[in-house]
């Protein structure tokens, strides 16, 4: 299967990654090989098979809606690259 560097660049952008030209070319070749290998699944008839997304087949697990304080604001902010003691700070959005 053939994947072009432009296709890789497009998917990379969707993934919030920005790759240099050499890497786009390298990945294009490798992803083509990997996707080509994956195409063997097409040999199997799965028309009447339900997809299985998780080994645990359960209905939604609910817990009581009780107020609980697990962590302090200080703890939650402790790893932020930028914060002011109250909020996470990010660069301007628009």
């Amino acid at each position: 299967m053939k994947i072009t560097p432009e296709e890789v660049a497009k998917v990379a952008k969707l993934s919030r990654l920005d790759l240099p030209k050499e890497k786009l070319e390298l990945f294009a070749g490798q992803l083509g090989d990997i996707l080509g290998y994956m195409e063997k699944l097409g040999e199997l008839d799965t028309d009447n098979v339900d997809p299985m997304y998780s080994p645990v087949q359960h209905t939604t697990v609910l817990r009581k809606d009780e107020l609980k304080k697990d962590y302090t604001r200080e703890e939650v902010l402790s790893n932020a690259p930028e914060q002011d003691g109250k909020f996470f700070i990010v660069p301007k959005i628009v």
Partner: protein, 485 residues
């Protein structure tokens, strides 16, 4: 007492309870061993000397607590299990300075059982790899041969246990990441049933595949750790609320009479190295001599498992890793002036090649035009794979085969990503089906002199039976030596 590092966890726990060894002695012995062997093995990203020695002092003053099965035992964690106050990197630059403010459930349970955490083990970045060569920091060596890889992704955990730096380590297994390094390093590795152990506080790779499990120097050690880890956790809705059996009660049996072992034709055929086949076959012959019956079983979809696995794992990885955006934790590019640029540059700088490759692949197979052809197709094949197992378990109690077609390979030998993925052929089916699997060392390869692991796979929640069979076989095989370092 000399050479404490050669003891099993079970022996060590006994010596600590009887005060023949103090916690401080146990910890110091491990730290000495780390100092002596780390220059060669390079298994640990963080050594927690100060915390461990301080904790040992307090514990020695209080004295042993018989209600705590791991009281005073030094243990290492794979560096993707979050530890309160101790840096947790996941083998990635993006989390190089991440210091969690809580312990994961597995860590809480180990601490409650009295364990002393002494280090965080190296790993493939975000657990993506089969050799630990994808760590953003350094390459871990196999204690049996420093030129060889320890396997992955829990390669640091495998190497630290094999090198005698601790008495057990926790690893995680998404497609073989406990069993492969256990096999390559000559130790016991157990991946429990999906849902048996809480994943809370495990930095996610493939959420429907990941499980935490013990890596130890004996089957009994494995049972003791699983006993502590297993059970429902309200913080992980996929941790199943089924009773936890006594994993020790079935150990010590002298015969495998009444046990039927299924041997999948697809696991014992072409592509298997002679030395791996010979060691695994000898172990099966021993099981038969002990009274086990063996039957051939079919795992017809084995050839499709790798494709199925990588589609699902990469899809889940691409969504899981979207949380690394430079806002709440992890690396941020401080020069970016606009939000989207900040996300993009932080992620591009923070993630290594293999992680980027899998995020892109995962995004591709989930994108609207390809979702049905790849992701949904793989999810359907996944159900067929599980049905294969269900059919096989109508004929046998447990399945056995090699962990990997080869023994540990040389670092740098598998530079092509697809070649590396093929190493997982025998291990990934258990993750897709959510079933327990374990690696038991069964000797050294006749050509390479490197360890060979035999894999067991069983029905969901059959860990007690699996441990019982593995323990019987372990006690009747030649004892596995420790690596000479």
């Amino acid at each position: 007492m000399s050479e404490l590092y050669t003891k099993t966890l079970t022996e060590m726990a006994g010596l600590l309870q009887s005060r023949e060894v103090t916690v401080a002695e146990a910890v110091k012995d491990c730290l000495d061993r780390i100092e002596a062997t780390e220059p060669t093995v390079k298994a640990l990203i963080t050594v927690m000397s100060d915390e461990a020695l301080k904790q040992a002092e307090v514990m020695d003053q209080e004295g042993p607590d018989a209600s705590k099965p791991l009281w005073g035992v030094p243990i290492v964690l794979k560096d993707l299990l979050v530890t309160k106050g101790t840096r947790t990197t996941c083998g990635s630059k993006i989390l190089e300075n991440f210091v969690p403010f809580y312990d994961g459930t597995a860590v809480v349970r180990l601490r409650k059982a009295g364990a002393v955490i002494i280090g965080k083990a190296n790993m493939d970045e975000f657990a993506m790899g089969s050799s630990t060569e994808n760590s953003a920091f350094f390459q871990t060596s196999n204690p049996w041969d420093a030129d060889c890889v320890p396997g992955g992704s829990s390669g640091g955990s495998g190497a630290t246990v094999a090198a005698g730096q601790c008495f057990a380590a926790l690893g995680t297994d998404t497609g073989g990441s406990i069993r492969l390094p256990a096999s390559f390093c000559g130790i016991v590795g157990l991946k429990p049933t999906y849902g048996r152990v809480s994943r809370f506080g495990l930095i996610a790779y493939g959420s429907s595949l990941d499980q935490i499990g013990p890596m130890t120097r004996s089957v009994e050690d494995s049972a003791r750790i699983l006993q502590v880890l297993a059970g429902h956790d309200p913080n992980d809705s996929t941790s199943v609320d089924v009773p936890v059996p006594d994993y020790l009660v079935g150990l010590g049996r002298n015969s495998l009479e009444g046990t039927t072992i299924g041997l999948p034709e697809e696991y014992w055929g072409k592509g298997l190295d002679n030395e791996v086949e010979a060691a695994c076959k000898a172990a099966i012959a021993k099981a038969e001599a002990l009274g086990a019956k063996t039957v051939p079983v079919k795992m017809a979809l084995t050839d499709y498992a790798i494709a199925t696995y990588y589609i699902i794992a990469m899809a889940e990885a691409s969504s899981n890793l979207s949380r690394f955006d430079g806002v709440r934790f992890g690396h941020r590019n401080k020069d970016a002036e606009e939000l989207i640029d900040m996300y993009t540059s932080s992620r591009t700088e923070g993630f290594g090649d293999e992680v980027q490759r899998r995020i892109i692949m995962g995004t591709y197979v989930l994108s609207s035009g390809y979702y049905d052809a790849y992701y949904n197709k793989a999810a359907k094949v996944r159900r067929l794979l599980r049905e294969d197992f269900e059919k096989a378990f109508e004929q046998c109690d447990i399945i056995a085969g090699p962990v990997c077609p080869t023994t540990a390979f040389k670092a740098g030998d598998k530079a092509d990503p697809l070649q590396m993925y093929l190493m997982d052929i025998f291990t990934i089916s258990a993750n897709l089906a959510g079933l327990p699997g374990m690696s038991l060392p069964v000797g050294l390869g006749g050509d390479s002199g490197m360890p060979v692991g035999l894999q067991f796979m069983g029905p969901a929640f059959s860990e007690a039976e699996m441990l019982s069979v593995a323990d019987c076989l372990e006690r009747n095989l030649e004892p596995m030596p420790m690596a000479k370092l």
